[in-house]
Symmetry: C2
């Protein structure tokens, strides 16, 4: 379903080069529920951004459903991403002038969907993450964990086949965080959604079936659980 | 050193009122090393913002070193804050057009300090949090955990008497997070700096000597350790 071949990303800054990813080879099958761990700066967000087509590699290939995404134009890539991927950003990227409800509806706006239906779906997702009472708050009127949950609800509104979650529980207490991961696990088991979660929290990774460890832009270890 | 009396904060949004804090009574002695925990939305950031003079209460009093801060003008409050408090925001609040180094230097700019000395101090703090190789990166060119560490270094540059840290390890792997808390513990033990850490992470709170639990804007429980 998602495959990376010799995936490499180098950031160029004036005199300096930062090798964020160094020949990553990785295969993620449809319906897998995996986590990615590693030290701060090890390349986790970079990997997720490349897998989700939000950024382009410097070298190497990415295949989503066997399509070579490095061959797609920017428009084709963003269409594929919009239809297939739900992305939860490490820094949320909420639109400050829109309410929580409007922020969740944004991914479905350009598609001519029935606005009443989009609103109902967004409300249902916000209730599911415990934000029924906060729908009309703007991001500055929400707590850190509430903003994170808006970002989570938004990632689900277009019923993605792939969820790429960059530290989705970083601002949440353990009870709320656990509920979020179990929600993703439910989508994974009932609808075969592929889920990739970047996390620093072992209580999150222990709920996944496979853990990929990054260090200095490389995969250094993998663990699988069989229960 | 810091005292809250019947501290209350109500946010007003058109038709709705949110009671974020409800008559909080709290005394923090100089040199204490405490943590604040509680569910997402329970009022932790609001409490920290009021204690740090970043926002004003709706009712109730706050005393910093016996001075009633609710009686200070905005200018007096921001002077007190700048001289006394190091604040680590849950959402970092880094200036996107400045480098990591410049961001750390910002709190000392208006004070006519020798610029070379300010730069040396900022560099030392960035090295201390592991960012020696990232000083010239702008925030968008840093990982989530690197941005968090810039925010941490910045909070220490004016040698504050009080550190108020809002989830300072939320984006960090456990090794880096532990180093940050031990750094604060060192400042607490060697220089008697008062430290208040909002956290969701029990591995952080177990390093503190007192834990305050919030729920729905109230203190519901306290724990003290005596070892
Ligand atoms: N400007 C605002 N206007 C209206 N409501 C607000 C505003 N800021 C915060 N709130 C609400 O006040 C409550 C407390 O917010 P606060 O940020 O203190 O929570 P928190 O304990 O820090 O949560 P988290 O762990 O998610 O960061 C939340 O329910 C939030 O929605
Ligand atoms: N636009 C950029 N320009 C230059 N360097 C960058 C840029 N974006 C990221 N980096 C660097 O690339 C490295 C990997 O970044 P990345 O965001 O993937 O790390 P991460 O594993 O997600 O870290 P964290 O756990 O702190 O979020 C970091 O050292 C960072 O400084
Ligand atoms: Mg990251
Ligand atoms: Mg908060």
């Amino acid at each position: 379903m998602i495959e990376a071949k010799d995936l490499t990303k180098i950031y160029y800054l004036d005199a300096v080069q930062v090798q964020a990813l160094d020949k990553i080879n990785l295969k993620i099958e449809k319906g897998e529920f995996i986590s990615v761990m590693g030290p701060s700066g090890s390349g986790k967000s970079t990997l997720l951004h490349l897998l989700g087509g939000i950024d382009r590699p410097t070298f190497g290939k990415i295949f989503i459903n066997s399509a070579d995404v490095t061959k797609l134009s920017d428009t084709e890539l963003s269409d594929l991403r919009r239809d297939t991927v739900g992305f939860i950003f490490q820094i949320f990227n909420l639109i400050p002038t829109l309410t929580a409800l409007e922020n969740v509806m944004v991914p479905l706006f350009p598609r001519g969907a029935d606005l009443k239906w989009v609103e109902e779906r967004a409300k249902a997702l916000l209730s599911m993450v415990g934000l029924k009472e906060r729908m009309n708050h703007k991001p500055t009127q929400l707590s850190g964990g509430e903003r994170q949950r808006v970002a989570i609800a938004r990632s689900l509104v277009n019923q993605p086949q792939i969820i790429l979650a960059d530290e989705p529980t970083g601002e949440l207490d353990s009870k709320t965080g656990r509920e979020i991961i179990l929600l993703m696990k439910k989508l994974n088991e009932e609808e075969n959604v592929t889920v990739v979660i970047v996390t620093h929290d072992p209580r999150v990774s222990e709920l996944t079936e496979r853990i990929i460890y990054l260090q200095d832009g490389r995969i250094v270890r993998e663990e699988r659980s069989y229960d």
